[in-house]
């Protein structure tokens, strides 16, 4: 019965693991396993969670980004309220202009909020961009939201017929039709870029991203699902072996008597 002993030995480690994990699952509420959340990168990767890289705008050496929770952060410092998405950031010699979906934030050179220009103050909805050219601030709008009388044929974007460009006065908060070629503005526009690692890390620590409870992890290890289809088959095989071993063991014991 050498084969019997060898088979028994090979299942030994797995059986111990199944017994312990089964014990843990049985007492999961008492051990509060479902309240322990794991969010390490490799685990989330393994489970197929996509962790989007947070993006922001780097202007004058400062990083402007949205924290996913209604705040505009400038290098980790909470500067203003900002409903996602943060659409664009531009700078003049006076300060910075950060356009969020709830309004345009006017910040000084130290990135302190001066004031916010929102819908209630007369900012048309669907503002698409804020751009600075020759120290003048231009806002691009969806033409359907603007009064048609203010549209000048020269301001209509030739590539995007629905866009209207207006010049913004940061002191009086007034908008007036701009005499500018849309192409010139388009070249000045900056695209959002992934944040550097250090900011990425602090942002992740502050916000609650996806996570997996310890209970789920143990259950998946116990059933073999953690390793996919083959994991389940492997646990099935162990189960089958245990059945065979106990039957043949009993038969061998009876024979010897």
């Amino acid at each position: 019965m050498l084969w019997h002993r060898r088979l028994g030995l090979s299942t030994f480690v797995v059986l111990i693991f199944l017994a312990i994990s089964g014990f843990a699952l049985n007492h999961s509420p008492g051990l509060k396993l479902n309240q322990i959340n794991l969010s390490s990168n490799w685990l989330l990767d393994w489970y197929g969670f996509e962790i989007p890289l947070a993006e922001g705008f780097q202007v004058d050496g400062k990083w402007f980004y949205q924290d996913g929770n209604k705040a505009l952060l400038v290098d980790g410092h909470n500067a203003a309220s900002c409903t996602a998405p943060l659409i664009a950031v531009a700078q003049t010699t006076d300060g910075f202009f950060a356009l969020c979906s709830n309004g345009l934030n006017l910040l000084n050179r130290d990135a302190q909020l001066i004031e916010q220009f929102g819908a209630i103050d007369g900012l048309p909805p669907n503002t698409q961009a804020v751009t600075v050219l020759h120290n003048k601030i231009y806002l691009t709008f969806d033409s359907t939201t603007i009064d048609s009388t203010t549209i000048d044929s020269t301001t209509i974007d030739s590539t995007n017929i629905d866009a209207v460009i207006m010049e913004f006065n940061a002191h009086s908060l007034e908008l007036k039709p701009a005499q500018i070629a849309p192409k010139a503005l388009k070249d000045m526009r900056q695209a959002a870029m992934p944040l550097p690692e250090s900011l990425q890390k602090t942002l992740k620590e502050q916000s609650s991203g996806p996570s997996i409870s310890l209970e789920t992890l143990i259950l998946d290890l116990h059933s073999g699902r953690f390793f996919g289809q083959f994991g389940v088959l492997f646990i099935d095989l162990i189960g089958l072996l245990v059945c065979i071993l106990s039957i043949t063991g009993l038969m061998g014991w009876i024979k010897r008597r």
């Binding site: 909020l113 001066i114 004031e115 209630i120 007369g122 908060l173």
Partner: protein, 187 residues
């Protein structure tokens, strides 16, 4: 016969569903923007020539304003409209979770009008009714930067009421700050 009964039952169910959903949508209609800032100023200064001005928040104004509303105020400047001794302000304050946009008109250190311009919370929107906001007319600021009168609250709108009270006191304080600074600037 059975078919007719079945059809009647189906119709009643559909009618009931429609009634419930329309009722539900009525009750959440408190949310919304009632008037834009420029429209508010135009209405307030209908006959007068009003100037758009800016109050820069000096450290002293900031610290006093923070004491009035109970948290640091955002921004470095506040925009207002003025015509002689009358000023109009648009200020925001969080009721429970969302900001309430409130327009306040002050004349001779006394509130002339309070108007809710935008309300974004799902409950407590009763503060926008003129019957409630009329209570603020004639209110002035005490020595301790509180309103000099009691405002009758509305059940279920306590937090919104506190927000309106704070903004009313803040507007009175800003009005005083404007007059003070213009008095010192004059030769």
């Amino acid at each position: 016969m059975l078919k007719q009964l079945y059809r009647a039952a189906l119709l009643t169910t559909a009618a009931a569903c429609f009634a419930i959903t329309s009722l539900a949508s009525f009750s959440v209609n408190a949310k919304g923007v009632y008037q834009s800032g420029p429209d508010f100023f135009t209405e307030v200064f209908a006959q007068q020539q009003a100037e758009s001005k800016v109050l820069w928040l000096t450290p002293e104004i900031r610290s006093q304003a923070a004491a009035i509303v109970g948290h640091p105020v955002r921004g470095l400047r506040i925009r207002y409209h003025q015509s002689d001794s009358k000023t109009a302000w648009i200020l925001e304050e969080i009721g429970k979770e969302m900001p309430i946009t409130i327009g306040v008109v002050v004349e001779d250190d006394v509130i002339q009008q309070v108007k809710i311009l935008a309300y974004r919370e799902s409950r407590g929107g009763e503060v926008r009714y003129p019957a409630y906001t009329a209570q603020y007319k004639g209110a002035a600021l005490q020595e301790d930067y509180q309103l000099n009168r009691n405002i009758d609250g509305i059940t279920g709108a306590t937090l919104s009421m506190w927000a309106v009270n704070k903004v009313a006191a803040l507007a009175l304080y800003y009005h005083a700050a404007v007059n003070q600074s213009s008095a010192t600037h004059q030769p």
